[in-house]
Amino acid sequence: MPVMNSAYNGRQPNEFKVLTELEGIPNSRSLEVYKKHGGYAALEKILKGKMSQEEVINIVKASGLRGRGGAGFPTGMKWGFVPKGEGEKYLITNFDEGEPGTYKDRYIAELNAHMLIEGKLIAAYAIGASKSYIYLRGEFYDEIAWCEQAIKEAYAAGYLGDNVMGTGFKHHMDVYIGAGAYICGEETGLISSLEGKKGQPKLKPPFPAVKGYLGKPTIVNNVETLAVVPWIIRNGAEAYKKFGTEKSAGTKLFNISGPVVRPGCYELPLGYPLKRFIYEDCGGLIGGKKLKAVIPGGASAPVLTAAEVETMTMDYEAFAAAGSMLGSGAVIVIPEDVSMVEVLENLMHFFKDESCGQCTPCREGTGWLLKMSRGILQGEGQPGDEKKIAEVAGKMMGRTICTFSDAAAGPARSIPQKFAHEFLEYYKKKSSAHGQG
């Protein structure tokens, strides 16, 4: 069982401020406030200190930073995959925040988009990219404006352009607005969309680090991943590693939703106890309701039972050991009075709508899973249907171009397996009070 970092005992979440330092500070989005709190010092340190690309990558590697978008791939290692030397390379920020329950990236933009821009400049320097994009979800009107404003300010202040801070480093940045497809948050789907094609994941190999946007080496990083990089450069890899566990270094933004007393976006060190988070930091469930289940990392993460939550810590390895995942850090709390069959049907509806339709098992499977779960919900199910759902979901895993199919299969396998008894109720009722039209 994962052991919680004892350093957290007795400490409050507001002591773990890396990304949320500007929380509560008036006019936090301005460049002025950002600079007052150390903004662009990291970039200056790298450019004026003439650090090599390798040195920057090594610091990020040493910090143990892992991708915050969901997959948790070590960031420094990813940057290291880009071929060295001359030639066009691209850095793209994945700001297509669409994982149900997730609202951390927009929170960063709301605090100060310069964190992202500085992080992008550092990453671009490390991989040798002179052009980068922020791929923004189309529905994020405010965030689009904030990012565009910050880019404008950065150009005016000399942080962007042909001669960044007079050091000869060249970097240009643009915002690209997506059209709201979940699959465009998958890195190769995002690249397809950015290229003006239908947003569909690309076959690998070749991998984007070798052949990505417009056929050039490309790195796609999540907003949160990039936004934390300046802090790491300023304070050093060791300082960052003081937070978190051995394999899950640092802090992470968690978004909690569901009927808790204080929902919202919290910055916590990785390895933080899930139960303490729900009951102490978020004030427990409204009206003292009992907890039934938790989806710990966005819609794709397999569900945890209340019993599993008891001892769970919030880090990559503990969630993985329980057959789930940290994902995007979107904690969805399900109380005792919500039917898990409804939860399943709701999630399957999402995945059926968002499958790009390219690979057969996913295209056909997601639709089938929805029909089966909806059938049960409407009282048309028969004993064994829940097993069929889990079986079909199992056959969708590991067989497609991207991991969307696996994501859909996650809840479709875990809910029937862990809450089989709730399905039996529906078979008995034949016509359910929860039934939807």
């Binding site: 076959l203 295209r363 997601t366």
Partner: protein, 493 residues
Amino acid sequence: MSNQVTLSINNQSVTVPAGSTIMDAAQKAGVSVPHFCWHPGLSIAGVCRFCMVKVEGMPKLQIACNTPASEGMKVDTVSDEVKETHKWALEFHLINHPLDCPICDQAGECELQNYYMKVGKYQSQMEDQKVLKPKALDVGDTLVLDTERCILCSRCVRFEDEVTKTSTLGIFNRGDQATIGTYPDRKIKHNYSYNLADICPVGAFTAKDFRFKCRVWFLKETKTVCPGCSTGCNVNLFQNSNQREYYRLKPRHNADVNGHWMCDTGRTMYEHLNASARLASPLLSGQSISSAAALQAVADAVKGLSADKVALVLTAQYTNEEYAGVLSSLKTVLKGTPKVFVWRDESEKADDFDGILFRGDRNPNTRGMMDVLKEHAIQPTMLKGDFSALAGTSPEVTVVMGPEIEAGYPNLQKALSRFSEMKKAVYFGNSLTDAAKKFWLRVPVKTFAEKSGTFVNFNGVAQKLKANPPVFTNVKAVDEYFAEVGKLAHTAG
């Protein structure tokens, strides 16, 4: 560094060039890996997820079509895990497929059917309402599209993007609503459209020219060469083995000639083969006569003439063997070489090329014919729009070996009228046109489907035709007739 890699597939060793995929290696080793979206003539899509194989050392199954083959790799395509995956891949393909095989024209040559028998044979668990999509869409002059039968393999989309570069087709919407279709206000109109029906592994695209005419299991195929132009695409010619009716042509892969494709013009090369489209028996001044009588008439006409009083008008649609046979026989009979003319349609632009396969020279054997003439030391006179050279020689007998494919001769009627005005004009060919009726003597001949022989394509590639039994048993090839004429003239002389 070696540019070959050796791997094993089901413990069978196979060596392929570096950069090949597991699918390439499996093809070479003769191991069948089920697939829908992969096509050797198109880019790799990797979307059907059917060709999954086990690669030793890799945790998940891999798709054979996009996984690079590497040295020492051990691939398994027959283990229970792989078989189970193939079954499920088929189940996913079929859950929303209408299963309307009894009324589907693809039945019998449908990959869904074939694979179900090969790797499926499971009891489907699908009990829910299927997704409904548009059916019987008119997407152009040649094809009908049923989007419900489509398995979204994207072969047709890639064909349009990569081969014809017309990009008419796309997959619209997403998830299980994803639907194949043409872009708004666009139709499939190019000369390669029937290839879409060929590469469609299911009954989504069916050919208007063929659908509902004959169930495919009644058809027998003959491996032969398309006579439609000087490219000489390798084809399979399909005939109903009971009724002797010809129904269609399909391309046959030949990397040196036509790759995987053929044009729509070539697809029509069955129409003139059937009985109703051709002359059945010889006609002398409009009166039906026997072949023997017709040949006797020719023998009598040429007997005793000096060679320069016989004109031989050729079209480049006969085999090398026919030209050689006719020339030899005539030389013997005439004790000299007749005047040889080559008739080209006046509109012909022989050097035209559409960039894919179709050539402006609509004759399949221009090169072969010229080679044979050269061997016989004959310098032919060209007749192209201007026929005065022929009239100028004032022949006593004019023998015309007419074109089998009249579509290549838009000015056929005009030319035939001129030829028929000649003294004792004899026409070898199956033409039913009005102008042909004016000839003194008409003799039907075998078509390309009924003779074995050689066509030499524009590029000098000599290719053999394969003979089916003739539709009319009395009809012979032109060289066979002239051998007969030779004997008759000799006897008479």
